[in-house]
């Protein structure tokens, strides 16, 4: 899709803190990320708290009758969103490890995530 490219490139981080399925935040948040990806900004996505459940493998929503949107997170990289961070403590508190996720992620310490947040021009929380 051809877009008139703005000259400004900003650092924008999506901060995902909601579990998938119980509420729509991680689904509609993904929609935002995919649209924003067309604007050639410096995007990243960080999973904190229950947000880390979003990327868990083997989510099967057929028996709920809802759209299984989580696989779509797999296309983030194709859309140029390559910086995917997971908060280590959130992951460990929930009994998860990097292998449990559908895509490769960068597991970060609390202090590293704080530093990344401070670098951003804007954070978009969902």
């Amino acid at each position: 899709m051809e877009k008139e490219k703005p000259k400004i490139v900003k650092k924008i981080m999506f901060v995902m803190r909601h579990a998938p399925h119980g509420t729509i935040y991680s689904y509609e948040g993904l929609e935002t990320a995919l649209i924003m990806a067309a604007y050639e900004q410096d995007l990243s996505m960080t999973f904190i708290g229950d947000g880390v459940f979003t990327l868990v493998k083997n989510q099967k929503t057929e028996s709920l009758g809802t759209k299984g949107f989580v696989a779509t997170y797999g296309v983030l990289e194709d859309y140029g969103i390559e910086k995917i961070y997971v908060d280590k403590q959130s992951m460990e508190d929930r009994g998860l490890k990097p292998d449990d996720f559908i895509i490769p992620v960068q597991v970060k310490e609390t202090s590293e995530i704080s530093a990344l947040m401070e670098e951003q021009d804007a954070t978009v929380p969902y």
Binding site: G22, D50, F53, Q59
Partner: protein, 97 residues
């Protein structure tokens, strides 16, 4: 009595609060994000294991599958929406929304 909880125990204190009011014979049903409490190896799982010594805990299978919750804590019973209905038939209900 049947207590229904639909919130994640990692984000919200609803399940913890509910468990305080549980007595002998109370049945707990976890639905929606509430089923995240059924995952083994989390910071919440010992609380669930403790609860299972005195109370029955059920989870909705469709919610477990949707979230890829695995493995689940030993002793938690997996049911479907018809099982949910049966629990409601057998017990008075309180929804901890």
């Amino acid at each position: 009595m049947l207590h229904i909880v639909n919130k994640s125990p990692f984000t919200n204190n609803t399940l913890t609060e509910c468990l305080r009011f549980v007595t002998q014979g109370t049945v707990i049903l976890l639905i929606e994000d509430g089923v995240l409490a059924a995952k083994s190896g989390t910071v919440y799982s010992s609380k669930m294991t403790e609860t299972l010594k005195k109370n029955e805990v059920y989870v909705i299978k469709a919610d477990i599958l949707a979230r890829g919750v695995s493995p689940i804590i030993d002793g938690i019973k997996v049911t479907d929406y018809e099982g949910f209905v049966d629990l409601v038939e057998k017990n008075k209900v309180h929804s901890w929304v």
